[in-house]
């Protein structure tokens, strides 16, 4: 069988010739066996997943404490300013 080349293929309009060319040139490729084995191993032994528990109450307390501190500070600054101005 005479092997087709792409330049001669480009000169013809026949899709059948292109089909033959594709059959001749497109072949399955072989993946790296180490990769196949390694992936298999990783799928069988997935890495441990760490689930972080919500620290709901603590987070709310910190936020409330921060807000209250801010309000107190603001109130204190205003009071000091008034004292000095009067």
């Amino acid at each position: 069988m005479i092997a087709l080349d792409l330049s001669s293929l480009a000169k013809t309009d026949s899709v059948e010739t292109l089909e033959t060319f594709l059959q001749e040139h497109l072949r399955p490729v072989k993946p790296d066996p180490d990769f196949i084995q390694d992936l298999h191993r990783r799928l069988n032994n997935p890495p441990p997943v760490w689930v972080e528990h919500r620290r709901g109450a603590q987070v709310y307390l910190v936020v409330i404490f921060g807000l209250l501190s801010g309000v107190c500070l603001f109130w204190l600054i205003r009071r000091v300013r008034r004292m000095f101005s009067s």
Binding site: D5, L6, S7, A10, L18, H25, P28, V29, H40, L43
Partner: protein, 201 residues
């Protein structure tokens, strides 16, 4: 070359294996992995044109399959079709994320040849392969998929129809249009190269 066993016994056997895998049987999933990993890799290699990207995406396909296998329900669609759909979606995301269609390095085509030929012949064939892959990868994702399933995986129109969610008749006409589109791409590439050679001379 991969052979697809269409016998009803084989289909029943596969359904049993898939059912076991959906129930968390790791051994069953291993069987499915060994059965399909080469095909999925091949599909992704031809879609991305890069062995490393193909490996990365193959791993993602099987991780996703493992994560979702519990919710897999057999609705007349083969397990392979389900895997190819995952691969198709992941490669679409890959194209979108990278916003590029990478060129296939010439040296990677060495893997495509399965027999040894005269060095000059091999060089010419590698050169032709590179241009051929370039032309294929200029086609739409669906057309690329069709070419790979047909010529690399050697699937029938009926099998391709299941994977691509089209009728067998639609695949037949889509296949013909795809060949015409590919031929036009090959013409364009050859013309561009001829112009380049003339300019250089």
């Amino acid at each position: 070359m991969y052979q697809t066993d269409h016998s009803s016994e084989a289909i029943d056997d596969e359904q049993q294996i898939v059912l076991r895998a959906t129930n968390g049987d790791a051994e069953a999933f291993t069987i499915l992995y060994e059965r399909y990993v080469h095909r999925i890799y091949n599909y992704l290699f031809y879609r991305t044109g890069n062995a490393l990207e193909a490996e990365d995406l193959t791993a993602r396909v099987f991780y996703r399959a493992l994560g979702r296998i519990a919710s897999y329900r057999h609705k007349g669609i083969p397990f392979s079709a389900w895997l190819y759909r995952i691969a198709h979606n992941l490669v679409a995301n890959w194209y979108r994320d990278n916003s590029r269609k990478r060129e296939v390095p010439l040296e990677e085509h060495g893997q495509m040849r399965t027999h040894v030929e005269h060095p000059e012949v091999t060089i010419m064939q590698n050169f032709d392969n590179e241009k051929l892959i370039k032309a294929i990868r200029k086609l739409s994702p669906d057309r690329q998929q069709l070419i790979i399933l047909k010529f690399v995986e050697h699937m029938s129109n009926a099998e391709i129809a299941v994977i691509m969610r089209r009728s067998e008749g639609a695949i037949k006409s889509f296949y013909h249009r795809t060949l015409i589109a590919l031929r036009d791409e090959v013409h364009r590439i050859e013309e561009a190269q001829e112009k380049h050679v003339k300019k250089r001379d």
